[in-house]
């Protein structure tokens, strides 16, 4: 076997999956018109798969802030903060994040992926234990691998499974970091954080919560699940991203623990990456300010989430367990998911298709994410597209295997 055979195998797998039809991964988006509309394949589609929860990517204030920073500070920082220094705006963003969460300090990373890599690899190391929910994001798994710590998993959202594993660790719990997500990105369900915090206390370990999909979405002030559940004081480290509700790119961690500042000196993904560009920092700061001052965006987001979830449930699609801005339809096979995804594109709706092994328990998902920027009419259009495909699928008449999904079970 030669070096590149591994990649060539991927090509065969890809062909077997797609049967020569359009590839749903990395779809060319020809033009983006707004937070909720773009041109794909020469036609205007409703964007319902972008995790743009607050719809701030085209906010005039965010765009102006980015423009101003671009003109004032240039296109990029051309290096890491350890080498090239911290711009005033990096420090301001960290101060504002810390203040927003009511924490002692914050640290900004250049991507959400890097925030998990950077935090986990700095917090645990050889001889320690990272105890993670089985459905955690790839960036959490990769951070654990980078750390060299023992990686243990517990069953998704199962405190009893977590308790068993903590029980087996004995005194090693003092060197154990539990990692969960506020809102899980595949099915939109929430961590059972109150119970997890109780176990964390009882066993004397540490807890990190990734609020990537819950920042701006959950909690009275939009801080996430820890705020919503009143458990923030027991969460040692919160991690999040700028690339969803804040419409930018980058990641962060906040904590009340003074040790967070030391992460800067031990985290390779922080030390050896160019720092975020001034325009990105500026739009993120403006977006954070909007998140804080306009709670009506969150209300609109949830109205849209309830509307979409309710309608798809009524249509008989099998969905995730909780109503949330991530609404995922579960299909039986990858072929069914791909057919539904293609049918939705034909109906003028862009969503995501998620297939094994990236999905929990080998499920095939067609995942929507709603935005505060969706109008009720756009949500109805998404629902109508799902309804049209549901009806066609039920009729099973004159429909090719790859165009139409089998009817989802109610």
């Amino acid at each position: 076997m030669s070096l590149l055979d591994r990649l060539r195998t991927l090509s065969q797998d890809r062909e077997a999956l797609l049967h020569g039809e359009s590839d749903p991964f990395g779809v060319p988006v020809e033009e983006v018109y707004s937070a909720t509309e773009a041109r794909i394949g020469g036609r205007t589609v409703v964007l319902a798969g972008t995790n743009n929860y607050l719809g701030l990517t085209f906010d005039p204030g965010c765009i102006q802030a980015a423009h101003d920073a671009l003109a004032a500070s240039g296109t990029g920082t051309t290096g890491s903060r350890m080498a090239n220094g911290s711009y005033a705006s990096h420090l301001e963003l960290e101060r504002e994040l810390a203040e927003f969460y009511g924490c002692r300090s914050a640290i900004v990373f250049s991507a959400g992926y890097l925030a998990n890599l950077g935090m986990i690899s700095a917090l645990v190391g050889p001889g320690d234990v990272a105890l993670i929910d089985a459905d955690c994001h790839a960036s959490i798994y990769d951070g654990c691998r980078l750390s060299g710590a023992d990686i243990l998993r517990f069953r998704h959202n199962d405190p009893e499974s977590l308790d068993k594993r903590l029980g087996r660790l004995g005194e090693q719990t003092a060197r154990t970091l539990i990692i969960v997500e506020g809102l899980y990105s595949m099915l939109g369900d929430r961590a059972r954080l109150e119970e997890i915090v109780e176990l964390k206390r009882r066993h004397g370990c540490f807890l990190m919560v990734d609020e990537a999909h819950s920042l701006g979405v959950l909690g009275e002030n939009g801080r996430g699940l820890a705020e919503e559940t009143g458990t923030a004081a027991d969460v040692d480290f919160i991690v999040g991203t700028f690339s969803k509700s804040l419409g930018g790119v980058g990641g962060f961690s906040v904590s009340d623990r003074p040790e967070l500042e030391l992460v800067r000196y031990s985290s390779r993904p922080y030390i050896f990456t160019a720092s975020p560009a001034p325009s990105v920092v500026a739009s993120t700061r403006e977006a954070l300010s909007i998140l804080r001052s306009r709670p009506e965006l969150r209300e609109r987001l949830w109205d849209n989430a309830r509307r979409l979830y309710g309608k798809l449930e009524e249509l008989g699609y099998r969905l995730g367990p909780d109503v949330s801005p991530v609404v995922a339809a579960r299909l039986d096979t990858p072929d069914q998911a791909l057919a539904l995804w293609r049918g939705l594109i034909d109906e003028g709706v862009y969503v995501n298709v998620m297939l094994p092994p990236a999905t929990p328990a080998g499920q095939s998902l067609v995942r929507c994410s709603v935005s505060a920027a969706h109008t009720p009419e756009q949500i109805d259009r998404i629902c109508e597209a799902f309804a049209a495909l549901r009806e066609q699928a039920s009729s099973e008449a004159g429909l090719s295997r790859h165009r139409v999904p089998r009817a989802p079970e109610a």
Binding site: A134, I151, L152, R155, K164, R168, P356, P357, A361, G362
Partner: protein, 82 residues
């Protein structure tokens, strides 16, 4: 302390449903080549195996495991450590 053979037999209970009809399992059965397990399926099985043997199996340790026998040896070693 369960013997290697006992552990292997109990592992087969978890692995047999994944084997194609007619495939006989033994200690040399390759988890990937013979059973066709991908890494995701394997780590999901580990959750069941952990509960079966009341032991925690670090994902890191699985990188050295290719056969059912090697998995049995790993579990035996971990139960001894506990």
């Amino acid at each position: 302390m369960a013997s290697y053979d006992d552990i292997l037999e109990r592992l087969f209970v978890h692995l047999r449903p994944l084997a194609r009809p007619g495939v006989e399992l033994d200690g040399d059965t390759d988890l990937v080549r013979t059973l066709g397990l991908d890494s995701t399926t394997l780590v999901d099985i580990i959750l069941d195996v952990e509960d079966e043997f009341d032991v925690s199996v670090p994902l890191n340790a699985l990188s050295d495991v290719q056969t059912a026998g090697e998995l049995a040896t790993l579990i035996r070693g971990l139960t001894e450590e506990q």
